[in-house]
Amino acid sequence: MEQVPAIELKNISKSFGNKMANKDVNLTVNRGEILSILGENGSGKTTLMNIIAGIYFPDEGRIFIDGNEVIIRSPKDAFQYKIGMIHQHFKLVDVFSATENIILGLNEKGKYNLKAAAQKVKDISSKYGFEIDPMKKIHEMAVSEKQTVEIIKVLYRGADILILDEPTAVLTPQETQKLFAVLRKMRDDGKSIIIITHKLHEVLSLSDKVAVLRKGEYVGTVETAKTNEAELTEMMVGKKISLNIERSEPKDCVDRLVVEHLDCVDRDGVKILNDISFTAYSGEILGIAGIAGSGQRELLEAIAGLQKVDKGEIVYNNPKTGSHDNLRDKTPIQIRDLGVRLSFVPEDRLGMGLVGNMDIIDNMMLRSYRKGKSAFLERKAPKDLAEKIIKDLEVVTPDARTPVRRLSGGNIQKVLVGREIAASPTVLMAAYPVRGLDIGASYTIYNLLNKQKEKGVAVIFVGEDLDVLIELCDRILVIGSGSITGIVDARTTTKEEIGLLMTKVRDAQGGEEK
C-alpha cells in the first residue's frame, strides 16, 4: 500500500533580496518518521522550516499535507494543519508556570480550568516519557525543562507534525539522549518529526531519513541506514573534507596563568564564579566545557580585566622578565602596560571584539592605535596588517575598506582571530570561536589555535561541541553553575564523563540514563 506523506514540499524557493535562501527544495515526511534536515549555517534550514510554520511565505512552490495542497500564510494556519514548531529560542513567560504557558493564547471554550489543563499536561508527559512538574514556574527551570514545556505546548495543541530547530544546542549529552528517547516514542505513536541540526552523529543515531541543504540548494535525501558520516559531510560541504584535528603533544609546559580561589558576584549580588582555581600552561590548549551561561564568559572577562573580581588572584608569569604579576583589579590598559601579552577573542564578535560599522583597517587599529606619542592616528601599519590577514587567512572581502559587518560570520571571525594572534600573545583566550561558522572556517580556526599552541602560547578555548573539545584540547576544565566541577585529560575522557560533570552542581541527584 502506497503511504500518503504527512507533509510534502515541492519546488519551494524563497529569496531575501538578491540572496536565495531556498532554491527548489523538495521534501517528504511520512507518518511515523523522523527526518533530519542537515546543513551548515546559512544553508537555509531555518528558512525552510519557517515556511512550513507559516512565518515566511515562499516565493515559489507548493505544500501538500496528507496529499492535499495547502497555503500556509500564518502560524495560525500552520497550527490548523497540525504543524507545531519548537524554536531555538524559547518563547515562554518567565513568571508563569508550565501549564499556564502551555494554555496561553489558546481559545478554548468553557471556563478557565487550570487543574484540568494540568492533568492534560501530565497525561501527555506520561504518554511520551517527559519529566515535568506542570505547576513549576519557568524561571525556576533548567534549559532542558523549558524545552520540554515548548514541546508539550505544541503537543497540547494537537500537533502531528513537529519541527524542532537545533534542539540539542543547549543540552548536555545525557539530556540529548532523553530527548531522543521521547522523540522516538512520538514517532512510534505516528507523529512526523522534522529536526534541524548540523551535528552528524545525532542525525545518524536518531533519524530515518536525512535531507541535506547546501547554500540554499536542496542536495538530496538519503536513508540514514544507507549512509555514513563521510558521505553526509561531502553532501553538506560539497567536497571531501578531512574531519581530523591534528593534536600535538604539549611541549615545554610552564605555569603561565595561575588562577586561585576566584570569586565574582554580579550586580544583584548573585555569585557567578565560585572559588575557581586552575593553571593554564604554556604550549597547551585548555578547554572549558559547560552548559551555556555557567560562568564561562565571566571567567574570561575577569582574566581580561573586564569583570570585577571579589576574591582571589590571577597571577601571570611573565616569560620575558620572570616576574609574577597579579592581574586582579587591573584594567585592560594596566594589564597591557605590565607587559602581559593577553589576547582575547570574545563571544560577542561584533558587539565587543570588533566594531561592525568600521572597516577592517580601523578594526585592526583597535588594539594598536595608542602606539606612539602623536595625537594623530597612524593608519599605515594597521593597513598592512589588514592586508596581511586578508591574504593569509583567505578572508573573503571586496577590500580592506569594507565595514566588517558586511562580511560573513566566518570572515568576521577570521578578522578578529587574526588581529588577536597578530599581537603575538602568550595567553590566547577564545570564547566559542567557531559558533556559526561553516565546517571549512571552523577547521581554519582550530588550526590557528593549534599553531599558537605549538608556538608555546597558553590557549584557553571555551567550546560547546564536546566532540571538538575532546579532539582539540589537552585538558578540559568543566564548569557548572560558576564552580569547577572537574578538570579532565582530554585524551582519555569521554563525552559522557564531561556531560555528567557539567550537570553535577545544578542537578544533585542527577538523572541517569535508562
Binding site: 533580496g17 580585566g305 565587543m352 587599529m365 583597535l366 588594539r367 594623530f376 592616528l377
Partner: protein, 357 residues
Amino acid sequence: MKKMNFHIVKRDQVSWKYSFLIRALAILASLLVSAVVITLLTQKNPIAIYSSMIKGAFGSSLRIWSLVQNIAVLLCISLAVTPAFKMKFWNCGAEGQVLVGGLATVSVMMFLGDSLPYPALVAVMILASVLAGIIWAVIPAFFKAMWNTNETLFTLMMNYVAIQLVAFFLKYFVKSGSGVLTPMPEYGLPVIFNQPYLLNIITVAVLTAVVYVYLKKTKQGYEISVVGESENTARYIGINVRKVIVRTLVVSGALCGIAGLILVGGTNHTISTTTAGGRGFTAIMVSWLAKFNPIYMILTSFLIVFLEKGAGQVSTDFRLPSAISDIVTGIILFFIIGCEFFLQYKILISKNGKEND
C-alpha cells in the same frame, strides 16, 4: 498567486552617481510639489515666489553677508554637537550652552570693558565664553558618566536654566529697567577689513577644518567613534568610557561657547533670552543631515539658512502669512530627508513570484 506584492530590501552600497541623481530628483520634486501647493493656496505664480526666495538670500551684498554670517553661526553650533552625537550622546543642550557662552561674553564686556586694555578684554571674553560653554556641557556629561543619567532630559533642562539665568541678568543689571540691554559695539570682537562678519566667518571656517581633522584623524576622534559604536568594544580594548564622555563634552561645550561669543561679541553686542534663537536644535538637524561629516555640514547649514532667509523674503514681498513659507520649507526638507530612504533601501515588486527591480 496572482496578487501583486512588493517588499523592501536594504541596499548594499550606492554608487556616487546614483546618490547624486536621487538627491537632485528629490530637490526637483520638492520644488514641483511646492509650486503646486503655492498655486493652489495663494493663486500666485510659483516662479515669482522662487525668485523672491533667491532674492531674499542673495539679493544684495548685505544679504549675502548676512546669509554667510548666519550659516557660520549655525555651522559653528552644528560642529559643536557633532562630536557628542558621534558618541551617541544626545546633546540637546546646545541652545543653553550657546546662551551661557554669550552671557559670559556680555558680562565681560559690561563689567570689564572699561577697566581692561582692548587686547586683554578680547582674550578674557574668549576664555570666559569657552569656559561657560564647557561648564554647561560637562555637568550633564559628568552625571551621565558616573550614574548613567539620561543626557537628553538633562541637557534640555539645562537649556531652561540658561534662559532663566539670562532673564535674571537682564532684570538686575540693565539699569534702565527696560530689560533690553543696549548694544556695546565698542567692546565687541575686532572688525577686520571693514567687514563686521568676516572674522566670525573665518573663525568658523577654521573650526570646520579643525573638527573634521579631530574626528577623522586623531586618536581622540577614533575613541569617540568606538564609544559611539559600542561601549562594550571600548571597554574591551581598554578605553576609559567615562573619561571619553566627559572629554568629548568639553569639546562640544567649548565650541558652543565660541558660538555664543560670535553671536554676542561678534554680531549682536548684546544678549536676550532668544539670542540662540532655536539654532541649538536646528543644529541637530544640520548635523544629522550631513551624517556627522563637518564638510557636508557646510552644505546642509547653507540649505537651512537659505530656506529661512528666502521664506522670510516671500512673506514680505507677497504679503503672505509666514505660514506659507514655512510650508514650502517643510516640503523641501521632507523631500530631502525622505530621499534618504531610497538611498538605503530598494523596493522590489514581485509578480507571480518573479522579482523585478
